[in-house]
């Protein structure tokens, strides 16, 4: 495995790194960002995964959220993957909500996407092995959080792997992709027209069958995408029927931006660390 450290900077005492590698699963060159806390006490370090939203790379969260202050305070490593396979040989689309920057964290089954768009396998097989090598004193404990499309990704990743993840949280997630325009467009393209194949990638379906896992969701009331893409009604109904305990918070006046994420990130870190 060729892994190149392309950038590193000290931030809040820890180290914000950026790596490049050739992904065997995605069959293209990828970057990811990784924060390592200072760990002066030499303790065992847990790992939080952050999954970003549409159009993002691994830079948005590392540069705009201010998470490093919290990660060093709590002494937790944070792994930030990119949001899709990348490169001029990787299929793309003119829309900003499909193709590169919009992988939706699924394994595509449809041509021409299926060759590269295997983000779920990348996140469950290839990257965890790399993370385990790169985090010194890794405790083996993991949790996952994300925003918007990455909130959907965090829920799907967590709900499909409850033995791996200790907690899930999401900011303004796509909760029911099968029923909203972003999800229908992506799932039709990546997974095909048979909606039965979509169910294993939809948190509102997965929550019916999952044993209890701590979940925190925060949504802004002035989020322009809320009504059309992010409604929580069916997800919460299904969660309640399956007796899953969800903390769903509506924050008055907040939008869909990193200003919203950065404001409530401290609550999310506290939630995750209480389970790590």
């Amino acid at each position: 495995m060729t892994l190149t450290l392309v950038e590193t900077a000290i931030a809040f005492g820890g180290e914000q790194r950026k790596y490049r590698h050739d992904s065997a699963v995605l069959q293209c060159e990828m970057t990811f960002s990784l924060y390592l806390p200072s760990n002066q006490a030499g303790k065992k370090i847990p790992l939080i995964w952050w999954l970003s939203g549409l159009t993002c790379t691994d830079d948005n969260f590392s540069q705009k959220s201010g998470f490093q202050r919290l990660a060093d305070h709590y002494q937790v490593a944070v792994m930030i993957p990119d949001t899709s396979p990348r490169g001029k040989d990787v299929p793309d689309d003119e829309g900003w909500d499909l193709g590169q920057g919009a992988g939706f964290y699924v394994n595509a089954t449809q041509a021409p996407w299926s060759t590269n768009y295997q983000m779920y396998d990348y996140l469950t097989e290839e990257l965890p092995a790399i993370a385990a090598q790169l985090v010194p004193n890794f405790s083996g404990k993991e949790s996952v959080m994300g925003h918007s499309m990455g909130g959907h990704g965090a829920l799907v990743l967590g709900l499909r792997n409850p033995a791996r993840f200790n907690a899930i949280s999401a900011f303004a997630p796509i909760l029911n992709p099968m029923q909203v325009p972003w999800g229908v467009k992506a799932f039709t393209t990546y997974l095909g027209a048979d909606t039965n194949a979509w169910k294993s990638w939809d948190a509102t379906e997965l929550i019916k069958e999952t044993t209890s896992l701590p979940i925190l969701i925060t949504q802004g009331s002035k989020d322009g995408f809320y009504e059309k893409q992010l409604k929580e009604t069916t997800f919460l109904k299904n969660a309640e029927e399956a007796r899953n305990n969800i903390q769903y918070q509506m924050k008055e006046g907040y939008d869909h931006s990193y200003f919203f994420i950065s404001t409530f990130l401290e609550e999310h870190f506290a939630f995750h660390l209480s389970h790590l």
Copy 2:
């Protein structure tokens, strides 16, 4: 005066706004960003000015520093101007360290720059009048901080106007522009070849003649620009001879990025608020 609110978002309880206006001083359309804390107690609110570095706009600090958490905690407004006049009719240069994005906060005297590049007058005459209108319950107390070229700007603005500003701070500032490549290039272009005309825009000269004003400077030891552009030796010598009290901090391992700024911003806000 036409002043248009082009963006607004809640961040940490306060409001992050972005305005557009026609600048009479710069003779072009400009944007600036302004943070207003929540001020639920209805108190008098002081104002901190932030001046950004080369290539930046008013977006860099508002999106990458995480300052809103501190500004709402301390209940202080923050004004973030752009770094130069802007627009297709405004003179520019191919270099990233000259022209648009690199105004150096001076009043240019040389053609073709002098028509638009009057950033000092913009910051001392036009924008303060606008800020006074936009900050509710403004206490009238102000201080100034900045980064790199904006650290130079903060020092020049503060040292030339000690009655207006209660404190100055800077991250990795250009302290002696007359003696370093960035400064020589900009001053030759904007102010002409006569170096006597440069002295009133150089903090290392201004510090000789200024009555004591609280100044905090933070520099990263791994800053790639430090040796060539940011050395503090003469500035500190002149400050000591003039009995000015400077807090100059060297932070081990930090570079020139926003990771560095965001790490030490809390110290800078605490310093400013102790004088506001």
